[in-house]
Symmetry: C2
Subunit: 139 residues, 2 copies
DNA sequence: TCATCACTTTCCCTAACGGTTAATTAACCT
DNA sequence: AGGTTAATTAACCGTTAGGGAAAGTGATGA
């Protein structure tokens, strides 16, 4: 499994609009696989596989509540992407500011986000893509 | 061609270590396809195809100098990635600072980088990956 | 003119991706 | 038990990606 480097796995996981929409949904809070699937026009197994791809990339963590498997976002891979991008911050002419220093200092110790609900309660999904247009890309 | 959205194409292009190494090399300045190929252990056609992928993603622009095709980095797609990432800046607990405002203001008008050499002069390549380990990921 | 250099394109192969349906696992509820 | 719900796994399918070898393109220059 995953014989390529971390960053490639992460970018590959991000290279799919459905998966990015799933991440966008999870940025609003935990969700079960079924809840994640609901906005899309594809089968549940398809979504399950997408979640697994995100999981393999470390972007998503799955818990267990009875028969539900609530998913949550994990920050590390995205931080690695940011770290990679800082190589180009000068070229981009974009203010990454003290970002790289920040990252160096903060290696792997993310904000804790620890609130485990009794049951996977469906969070409101503003910003969730349409049934046939799985986007979630324009806030 | 390219029936998927811009961002997916960009992420897919970035999901390959050889391609990222090529970008890293180009961040140091223009290079011909042959120069780009030199550090790697794959055939020239393979590199040519990688360059084409980067080109389709808008990450690289190719000029024409006689029989050479000097390549240069283009900033827009990476900026789109940064813009996409800002959605998660709060979650990441990372200082993107006034980045999104900056991006909004600067829509598509990048820094100009206009110096076209007489001939494609090989730039020094510090930071270029080893022959059998096409990385270029650790500055 | 004709060889050479720098790429690109074509063809072929294998492996992986994204999707489907059907079957399976696992926990809950009577 | 038996049935329902939630999700994963398995098997399959068509498409795409990445690699090589070999042929093609186009400008250079003897």
């Amino acid at each position: 499994m995953s014989r390529v480097d971390h960053l490639s796995t992460t970018f590959a996981a991000l290279a799919d609009p459905t998966r990015r929409a799933i991440l966008a949904r999870l940025a609003d809070g935990e969700a079960t696989v079924g809840e994640l699937a609901q906005p899309f026009d594809v089968s549940l197994p398809a979504i399950s596989k997408h979640v697994k791809v995100l999981q393999n990339a470390g972007l998503v963590e799955q818990g267990r509540q009875a028969q539900w498997r609530p998913c949550r976002l994990r920050p590390e891979p995205l931080r690695e992407v940011v770290a990679w991008m800082t190589r180009y911050r000068e070229f981009l002419g974009v203010s990454f500011d003290r970002l790289d220093g920040y990252l160096a200092e903060l290696q792997g110790a993310g904000p804790q986000h620890n609130d485990v609900p009794e049951r996977p309660a469906a969070a409101d999904h503003r910003d969730v893509p349409e049934k046939t247009e799985p986007n979630g890309e324009t806030p």
